[in-house]
């Protein structure tokens, strides 16, 4: 039963990924003008244009180009950037790493913090801590990500304190983690955007679990309160929270764009904004499909967690 559901979910993801790739590909076909002309400029001779068209496979029929492009995704050949002329893969490989570092750090901080704050908030329901946590998360959840980022910059690097750099300035070719101070503000911004949702979900499910029969039973047996919370309540509250966490991770794949732009962080998000500004189709295509793929995979993981932790599906064996 479970295996069947998982296979079905996997297949659905593959189909969605395929349709999304079609969508991304077709979007670039709608673009007016000739990409070869865009790269070489108005002065280019017809021979050079023809040569570049041949190199970019622009003379092939559309469906051949689609499959060449898709094939390139798997072999790491993503075409050539119209703005710089260099291969897209070389442009992106460092940036993907940098973005992953940023998102990984943010996830490492926000997941435990969100779970702990949410749990405490639920245990201290109606007290000062709970009110503070609920109010703060509500406000943070409503603010757009760049507003939070600018607020932090104003607070920590320009107007009030001047202790943290507001932009990332790692020299090209060097890894971002060699400059840990520059990672602080982008990471905190991302954490502040993502954590509120985890806190709110954790608080909600913890309240539900703490009111349930098995927790009352454990208490009646005389289990110490600490153990009731840690052994009985929290593990049960984690399953729904895991889904929210996964959704937040998926959100990060897209939301990181604005934050990277704000801090001039050398990741894929900033590359995407630059590429859109330059109308650099190959790069936009490559990054869109990358982000979409990451988004689909994380959402898939979220659903798998949901399927695996759903006790109803565990007991329902041969139906």
């Amino acid at each position: 039963m479970i295996a069947k559901m998982i296979t079905k979910r996997l297949l659905v993801s593959l189909v969605i990924l395929f349709v999304v790739s079609l969508l991304v590909f077709v979007a670039t076909l709608l673009l007016p003008g000739d990409p070869a002309q865009a790269i070489l400029g108005q002065q280019a001779t017809p021979e050079r244009l023809e040569a570049l068209r041949e190199q970019m496979n622009l003379n092939d029929p559309v469906w051949v180009r689609y499959f060449t492009w898709i094939g390139g995704l798997f072999t790491g050949n993503l075409g050539y950037s119209a703005a710089s002329g260099g291969p897209v893969t070389a442009l992106l490989s460092d940036r993907i790493q940098a973005s992953l570092v940023l998102m990984g750090l943010a996830a490492l901080i926000s997941i435990p913090v969100g779970i702990v704050v949410g749990t405490f908030s639920a245990l201290k329901r109606g007290r000062a801590f709970d009110h503070a946590a609920t109010g703060t998360t509500l406000v943070l959840a409503s603010l757009p990500e760049f507003v939070i980022g600018i607020g932090l910059v104003a607070l920590f690097s320009t107007s009030v304190f001047k202790i943290l750099p507001s932009v990332t300035m790692a020299p090209p070719g060097e890894a971002v983690w060699n400059y840990p101070v520059q990672l602080v503000l982008p990471t905190i911004t991302l954490v502040l955007v993502v954590t509120p949702y985890i806190v709110r979900m954790m608080r909600g499910t913890m309240l539900e679990v703490m009111n349930s029969g098995f927790v009352e039973m454990a208490r009646l047996k005389g289990v110490p309160e600490r153990q009731v919370v840690l052994r009985h309540a929290v593990p049960h509250a984690l399953a729904p929270v895991a889904q929210v966490i996964a959704i937040q991770l998926a959100w990060m794949a897209g939301g990181v764009v604005v934050i990277e732009f704000l801090f001039r962080y050398p990741g894929i998000g900033q590359a995407l904004v630059d590429a859109v500004n330059n109308r650099d189709v190959q790069v936009v295509q490559a990054i869109s499909i990358l982000i979409a793929a990451a988004y689909i995979v994380v959402n898939l993981l979220a659903d798998l967690v949901g399927i695996l932790t759903n006790p109803k599906l565990r007991t329902e064996k041969a139906s």
């Binding site: 757009p144 910059v153 104003a154 320009t158």
Partner: protein, 295 residues
């Protein structure tokens, strides 16, 4: 017709929405949210009318050298009056966000109700299409569209509306599914009332609760979204006065001229917090009343 009869006649029509709103407004956080929202709304709506009269300058006029203290909040990097630009910069943001939200609501509600009411293959087809649209992060979808179509006002509105629609459709579909099994729907069907009329006059009034919550949520997101795109330089284009664009243009000079960034940031923050407080209390009021949200 006497006044008494008039009241009785109107009663069933107007009874529910005021009750939901009244319940919402009884919560203190809704009052706070209403005040915050109205303050920024007033600033944004009245601002463009006040500019030359209150500050002495229009929003795009060069009033002096860059970063001097002329006027209340000084000048920006091109010597334009920051306060004038601030007053003039909110209207477009709010109008675009409202239009995008309205478009998303109309499309999403129509699609969601059709899917739930038709059921079967139509339902499955629509919801699978939904899944595909949901698989692209909203921002990436918007950037893709802007690459192809260029940064223009209608592109912003359409793209944000379209990316909202599948999310709204999902909510509408589940709310509708809970309502269409009711007896009064079956009664209307037996009278051979056309489908679209049943959806508009029987189903829609009974799912206003979740839809209003969704409306508030999407409005909050739309404001952030329009502002973020302008902030990325891909929404409003210079020399338009716009809060998102102002932040983008002035953030390099945050140390010398903080007002150019802080005023619009504060306005956007207050507005989104206000709308979200309203939405949150609306959600509670609607959950208490259990309108159309039966499980």
């Amino acid at each position: 017709m006497s006044t008494v009869e008039e009241v009785v006649a109107q009663d069933p029509v107007v009874a529910r929405p005021p009750r939901l709103l009244a319940r919402m407004m009884r919560q203190p956080q809704a009052k706070l949210g209403m005040v915050l929202t109205l303050v920024v709304m007033f600033l944004a709506l009245a601002g463009p009318l006040l500019t030359p009269w209150l500050t002495g300058h229009t929003s795009t006029e060069f009033t002096g050298r860059p970063f001097t203290d002329i006027g209340i909040f000084g000048t920006d990097n091109l010597g334009r009056d920051v306060f004038s630009r601030f007053l003039d910069g909110g209207l477009r943001l709010i109008v675009y966000a409202a239009l995008a939200t309205a478009l998303g609501m109309v499309v999403g509600v129509a699609v969601g109700m059709t899917a739930a009411y038709s059921g079967g293959r139509v339902d499955a087809l629509i919801m699978r299409g939904n899944d595909v649209l949901l698989a692209l992060p909203q921002l990436v979808f918007a950037l893709l569209a802007i690459t192809v179509l260029g940064p223009q006002g209608w592109v912003l509105v359409v793209v944000i509306g379209i990316t909202h629609a599948p999310r709204i459709a999902r909510v509408t579909r589940s709310a509708t599914a809970a309502v269409i099994t009711e007896d009064y729907i079956r009664a209307s069907e037996m009278y051979a009332v056309p489908k679209w009329k049943i959806l508009l006059t029987e189903v829609l009034p009974n799912i206003t609760g979740p839809l209003m919550v969704e409306l508030g949520l999407r409005m909050t997101y739309s404001i952030g979204f329009v502002a973020a795109l302008s902030f990325l330089g891909l929404g409003m284009q210079p020399p338009t006065a716009d809060w998102g664009l102002m932040i983008n243009e002035s953030r390099i000079a945050l140390v010398v001229q903080p007002w150019g960034v802080l005023l619009p940031v504060a306005a956007i923050a207050v507005l989104t917090v206000g709308t979200n407080l309203l939405t949150d209390s609306l959600a509670r009021a609607s959950a208490d009343m259990n309108v159309g949200n039966k499980k």
